[in-house]
Symmetry: C2
Subunit: 148 residues, 2 copies
């Protein structure tokens, strides 16, 4: 029982500490591409889940609509996204990612993968594969239950 | 070669997505204890690495001294930390964590472990142990090389 708890406590610890290192490096990468953390998060959501309204994005990001409005204003100025009227209902405005936004997200993700690849250079292919399988199961367990 | 790259790309993806879920839950937990993300980070650093000056803490957190001064001001008001003069050199002021700071860090970490424990309820003991081993190796690989 104690060992079981220890594993969970260690999983929490290593995830937290790894995340801290990646987040620090991640901030450097974002700075290289002149985007902020919330802009990176918004790009990921809009690209993975498709265009959405400010209200929908504010729910996904757990931030106030006024905060998301400011965020999208700045992202529109940097030509990462554009506001577009819904074709069926002109009163509805959706945020769409522009080509520059797609390109920047790709570049940021590539830089993160390259960073991780360097750190894992001493891992055998088998170890990388095992870690991938473990993290996939972890993510799925966390994600499935988040809806319920 | 392609598969090797795919594993790294997936590891990056699952870490990023798992981190997003944990960070969102983490913010809820911090709000329950009336502390902010930077306060949580500062408490971890000061408790794990011992008392330090504002300058040292600002380096560790990669934030400006003025930002850390404001942060420590607020943490002192909430009685999480206290500024103390160095016994040997009275001109040097160090930040020390108070009992309340220790207690809150413990409670936040317990709540995070409990959250993770619930999410991993379907994992066998063996799977948890394997994940722990994989994440430990990951963290060590990332941490060892960060100094160089």
């Amino acid at each position: 029982m104690k060992e079981k708890f220890e594993d969970i406590a260690n999983i929490e610890k290593y995830l937290r500490k790894t995340d801290y290192i990646i987040r620090r490096k991640g901030r450097e990468i974002l700075a290289d591409f002149n985007i902020t953390g919330p802009q990176f998060t918004a790009l990921q959501i809009l690209i993975n889940q498709g265009t959405m309204t400010i209200g929908e994005l504010s729910q996904k990001m757990a931030l106030a609509c006024s905060t998301i409005t400011d965020l999208i204003d700045r992202m529109e100025k940097s030509e990462l996204v554009i506001r577009k009227k819904d074709e069926k209902d002109k009163r509805v405005v959706r945020v769409e990612v522009l080509n520059k936004g797609h390109v920047i997200l790709e570049k940021v993700l590539s830089a993160r993968i390259e960073f991780l690849s360097g750190k894992l250079s001493n891992f055998s292919d088998e170890d990388k594969n095992k870690l991938n399988i473990g993290l996939k199961a972890l993510y799925e367990a966390m994600n499935n239950q988040i809806e319920s």
